[in-house]
Amino acid sequence: MINEILQAIIFPGVLFTIAMGFLFDWLDRKTAARMQGRIGPKITGPSGILQPLADFLKLLFKEEIIPSHADRVIFLFAPALYFLAPLLSMLFIPIIGPTPLAGFEFDLLAILFLLAYAAFVVTILSYSSASSFTTIATGRLVLQYVSYEIPLVLAIITAALYSRSLSVEGIVASQSTLWNILVMPFAFGVYIIALMAELEKPPFDIPSAKTEIVAGWLTEFSGRALSFLKLTKEVGYVFGSALAVSLFLGGGLGPEVAAVPPPVLYFVYFMVKLLLVGFLIFVLKTALARIKIGQATELFWKILTPVSLAQIAFVLVLIQGGVLVAT
């Protein structure tokens, strides 16, 4: 019992997830800086690795301003509710062994629910601050959400259909011989693009467009609320990449090495794949420029939804034809 509580709180639970969020933020800034010919964070810790921690602490120690028109209750409590979503979802991902901390038979549905919950919380959060910039941002946020959600869910469902399981654990276990990405490369691509829209990374940083609407829905937040909202975005980054690894890249599965105990090996494989997926997103987000909200909606509805439907049809044909059935 004590052991499980410690696992949930420290490793591979909450504290580990937050530390990974900081690491992802640092890697993101370093990669972007390198690609632009800069150095990036340098003096805070070795190579600036403590920079996200310094940012987080500084915001915690700052004054928190509440706009006079804002809905005080939602404005103060919604950042905490928003923070819960990726943190809880992370407990369904197997990190140090084939069994996740809090997995159950239909946990993929719980993850889909938490994605919708996060979008809902961020919408009321954005509306609660009641300024003209956040109102525009909310409209864009909701439109972007209804755009990317369908392809995102279709891509996740493709993996579930092929592996004949609605739990992340079952989907990972079914990939011991063949990774899902080899069967459904387009579903993986659609998932990554939709994930970037969910995380509001360029080219989909439309709801937080710096040059158009100040800081988007983050405009009115300061101090503690801002630090947690930023942390949530970073943890969401980790969770999105971890889900991609579990659904398409075989989780922590890989060739066995005799000298290394299985949990350590599982963890190492998982981390390597996680960082690779993260790196793919860092490079894409630095290389691409923002598109318009209409273009984003067209991309998702007119191109990516048919692509993911075609991918589902392909997978169904494979299953019916008895070719390449997952174990």
């Binding site: 150095i39 964070p41 340098k42 120690f61 100040v214």
Partner: protein
């Protein structure tokens, strides 16, 4: 202990909000130049934030005239404590070449308290970075 942690994080993460109080754009270009690959002020944790509510350091450029006075004060009040103000360039320091005009005062310090003046018309990016770092050295 907590105090030391707070000081450490404040020294390492100065987020800058830039307000153009009717500047000629000279200082603004030099400020943006300090973000470019040659100088890269992000090495010290400084980034340019889009909203004054996220900022720690307010950098004001330009001669503050009757039009921008109220707006400057309003933006200053939106920055959460602890906050610092840097007046960048000759105009922000004392009015510059526009000093004596009917609508120009004695610079930024007439309107809001200033922690650091960086003179020059415009100041070089090295001078801007030196000023920011010197200000950070005095952050308590």
């Amino acid at each position: 202990m907590l105090e030391r942690l707070a000081t450490w994080s404040r020294k390492r993460s100065p987020w800058v909000f830039h307000i153009n109080a009717s500047s000629c754009n000279g200082c603004d270009i030099e400020l943006v130049a300090s973000l470019t690959p040659l100088y890269d002020i992000e090495r010290f944790g400084a980034i340019l934030v889009p909203s004054p509510r996220h900022a720690d350091v307010l950098i004001v450029t330009g001669t503050v005239n009757a039009q921008t006075k109220d707006r400057l004060r309003r933006v200053y009040e939106q920055v959460p404590e602890p906050k610092h103000v840097i007046a960048l360039g000759a105009c922000a320091a004392a009015g510059g070449v526009f000093k004596g005009c009917y609508n120009v005062g004695q610079g930024v310090q007439d309107v809001i308290p200033v922690d650091m003046f960086i003179p020059g018309c415009p100041p070089r990016p090295e001078a801007i970075m030196y000023g920011v770092l010197k200000l950070l050295g005095e952050v308590k």
